[in-house]
């Protein structure tokens, strides 16, 4: 076979493979994939195909599940979890403020367990996540969803109470920034969340400021944090106005 033919076959194969699941760079700096939703009503466009975005980084390691979010066309609609192989919607993120493509001060990330049996979804907000939800899968379905943000806030509330020597609201103890989530597998999968809390992100001098880094380990089976450690904790009283 001449080099010309070999070269052409190579280029042809490359072109074909590129068309399988194309392939445009989205504003989210990730690869956008084509997909379909459940059967639309007769005569209606497929809202999932036209109005939702599936990014490669949101797909589970076994390629069975994915988290999708709406584009501007459907910006008030929820973020969903799909069974991509069967074009089925198997879960949604229950929130007041779903993420949509290009949302100001918004983000959506998915941290999948290596065996694809669970995913932590962070629906990011301006100062703190709007939601931090753990979804567990069994037999191709979502069988349980757990709010992880509230237990995380409770840990910050306890830490702040110690520093400030007063009771702190357990539902909104700090503005939280999630810096990483790492899965470990074993009898029960565990998720190590690294984050930092801050009560005065704009550093107003007259306001009290509490800061701290937290590493907390969530046990999926026990549905709670089983270990946690704070570091770099600082607390400064605000300079009261005279």
């Amino acid at each position: 076979m001449s080099w010309v033919v070999r070269f052409c076959l190579f280029v042809f194969a490359a072109l074909c493979s590129a068309n399988v699941a194309v392939a445009e760079t989205s504003a989210d700096e990730d690869v956008r994939m084509d997909f379909h939703g459940p059967a639309p009503r007769p005569g209606y466009p497929d809202a999932f195909q036209l109005g939702y975005v599936l990014l490669k980084r949101m797909i589970s390691p076994n390629n069975q599940y994915a988290v999708v979010f709406p584009s501007q066309l459907l910006e008030e609609s929820p973020d969903f979890i799909l069974d991509t192989k069967n074009s089925r919607v198997i879960g949604f993120v229950p929130t007041e403020e779903p993420y949509f493509q290009g949302k100001n001060h918004g983000s959506l990330s998915a941290s999948w367990s290596p065996d694809s049996s669970a995913v932590l979804i962070e629906n990011g907000g301006k100062w703190s996540p709007n939601d931090l939800l753990l979804f567990e899968f069994r037999n191709g379905e979502v069988f349980r969803q757990t709010d992880v943000l509230l237990p995380l806030q409770r840990l910050f509330a306890e830490a702040r109470s110690k520093s400030e020597h007063r009771r702190v609201d357990k539902t909104s103890a700090a503005n939280i920034t999630i810096n990483g989530a790492k899965w470990t597998t074993g009898k029960s999968p565990r998720l190590e969340i690294k984050c930092e809390g801050d009560t005065n992100p704009k550093a107003f001098e007259e306001s009290d400021s509490w800061n701290g880094d937290l590493t907390a380990v969530w046990d999926v089976a026990q549905r709670k944090f089983v270990q946690h450690r704070f570091s770099n904790v600082t607390f400064r009283r605000g300079r009261k106005e005279e």
């Binding site: 590129a18 459940p38 066309l73 969903f80 919607v89």
Partner: protein, 334 residues
């Protein structure tokens, strides 16, 4: 040999170009009778009706009245196209553009096309009216409901928006939500707030119309921002009434509460009847069903292209249907 090489490279270039062109073609919708599809070429058109049987039979729909709604910087923007159940009407709405500045962010033109018999072309659609469809709908509502919102300050402009809600199952009516507001260019603010009204276009008479259901909803204060609290969801219309089968607004909240109570009762009876060792299995099954019911209700509302507040009502309607079906299923197991 060189000539052969050059031909093959040119051939591959042509295939590649075709592949690119194909990627730019978006399938928007298939007609319910499967006779034709609507396709859009990214990023700015044209919008084409293409026969499924005879690929050469096609026509372009003129949506130039939509203005600058599409382009390279709006890659997600596509015209939203809805085909009537009998496949003879097309409703095309401009996409929302919330990132645009007011008043353009609010402006959502719409066009209604009707399929015509033609000896020349297999597929032939014509606009149902010459003037702007959503503007004509608002003018009808203004007259019919005596809105008295005709006065617009000199430097201000009235903008209109149409939203697709539903076709009636007999293809007799198109249900839309029409909104309008007045924007002052000098003040850079809305001088007349944006309000919403439901409206039908009767596809048989070719005229806008209101039934008792729409009239009762359109005249409620809650709909137009006087009060926003509507817990019973009485001011939201999600289904078009077929001609000759007009009915008052359905009561959804009460129906859901009844279905939910019946479900709790039958589930409690079934749990009581189940051997203790199998009860946890039933509890797990019920939890999974609840998750699945709520997810399917959300997905169905999205597939109906519902926005707020219709989405909340459609979710509730879907939950009613699933809950009533679950009651029947559990009753059979008693």
């Amino acid at each position: 040999m060189n000539r052969l090489g050059a031909s093959i490279v040119l051939g591959i270039a042509a295939i590649s170009q075709q592949a690119d062109a194909k990627q730019d073609q978006i399938h928007l919708v298939t007609a319910p009778n499967n006779e034709y599809v609507l396709e859009w070429t990214k990023p700015s058109g044209p919008l084409r009706v293409v026969s499924t049987g005879n690929k050469s039979a096609e026509m372009q729909l003129d949506i130039s009245s939509f203005g600058q709604k599409f382009g390279e910087d709006q890659s997600a923007a596509v015209p939203l196209t809805f085909v009537s159940p009998d496949s003879t009407w097309l409703f095309v709405v401009a996409p929302p553009d919330s990132f645009a500045s007011a008043p353009e962010s609010f402006n959502r033109p719409a066009l209604l096309f009707h399929r015509m018999q033609s000896e020349v072309a297999a597929l032939h659609f014509e606009p149902a009216m010459a003037e702007r469809f959503e503007k004509a709908a608002w003018e009808f509502l203004d007259r019919e409901l005596n809105l008295q919102r005709g006065d617009v300050p000199g430097d201000a402009q009235r903008v209109y928006s149409a939203e697709f809600i539903d076709w009636s199952p007999d293809s007799g009516r198109l249900l839309m939500k029409i909104s309008s507001g007045v924007w002052s260019t000098s003040k850079q603010e809305w001088v007349q707030s944006v309000y919403h009204w439901y409206c039908y276009f009767n596809l048989r008479s070719g005229k806008f119309e209101l039934t008792d259901r729409l009239r009762s909803v359109d005249t409620k204060a809650e709909l137009n921002g006087v009060a926003t609290d509507d817990p019973a969801m009485t001011t939201v219309v999600t289904a078009a009434e077929p001609i000759g089968r007009e009915e008052p607004q359905p009561t959804r909240k009460e129906r859901f509460e009844q279905a939910d109570k019946r479900l709790n009762d039958v589930y409690a009876k079934l749990l009581n009847k189940t051997e203790p060792a199998k009860r946890e299995g039933l509890r797990e099954e019920q939890r999974a069903w609840l998750l699945s019911r709520d997810t399917e209700a959300q997905a169905a509302a999205v597939q109906a292209w519902s926005s707020v507040p219709e989405s909340a009502v459609r979710i509730l309607e879907n939950k009613i249907a699933s809950t009533e079906a679950r009651v029947v299923e559990l009753e059979k197991r008693l």
